[in-house]
Symmetry: C2
Subunit: 119 residues, 2 copies
């Protein structure tokens, strides 16, 4: 199993809430309706970064969002992003809510050190 982490800044002009709304309520359902893509996704998590007012973690976050997508292998991930519907509809939809040039793609191996109360 591998995990793709995609970090990005939200599209200029969108508020944090507009960015979250679009990503959660428009883009995610679009991904789920793309059979060649979605059949290969084993787990999907969206992380909404937030500004922290005070303290050691204060400041504007480097990213506004971080997506996490699990696939069986690098080959399966590549195949997921190669389908016609994915290339023509799902990937272009990203431009509606993120700054494409800000996107960072990280292919990784996940190691769950400790899993407490969170499922």
């Amino acid at each position: 199993m591998i995990k793709l982490i995609v970090g990005c800044k939200r599209k200029a002009g969108l508020s944090r809430q507009q960015f979250i709304d679009y990503w959660k309520n428009r883009h995610a359902p679009l991904a789920m309706k793309d059979p060649q893509f979605w059949s290969r996704v084993r787990r999907y998590v969206q992380n909404y970064c937030m500004p922290v007012g005070t303290g050691q973690f204060s400041g504007t976050p480097a990213w506004d969002g971080a997506a996490e997508l699990w696939f069986d292998s690098v080959e399966e991930m590549e195949a997921a992003f190669s389908g016609r519907q994915t290339v023509e509809i799902l990937v272009p939809d990203l431009a509606n809510f993120i700054e494409l040039q800000s996107a960072v793609f990280l292919v990784s191996e996940e190691n769950v050190i400790y899993s407490g109360a969170v499922a």
Copy 2:
């Protein structure tokens, strides 16, 4: 519940495997032995970024590692990083395997859109 994502490059001079070994087998156990820190951690995941040889995700990753740490709240996270043992032992240990100036800290809200086979 909030989730802290910490991205970083490995320390210059370390191989990818040395970086992973230190983080997994030296730093993680140190974190677990720090009661003021560890008692506040709800879940802890290490992600080892990997170079991909070919295809649309090829190239050197922007980060070598991404840690994910869940806490009950921003306040709990701040408290976790304020303990004496944490400040004097755990945080300084980071310099043994990461390039400190490369570290990116992202406080986020997690939204699990779909959870398949992965626990």
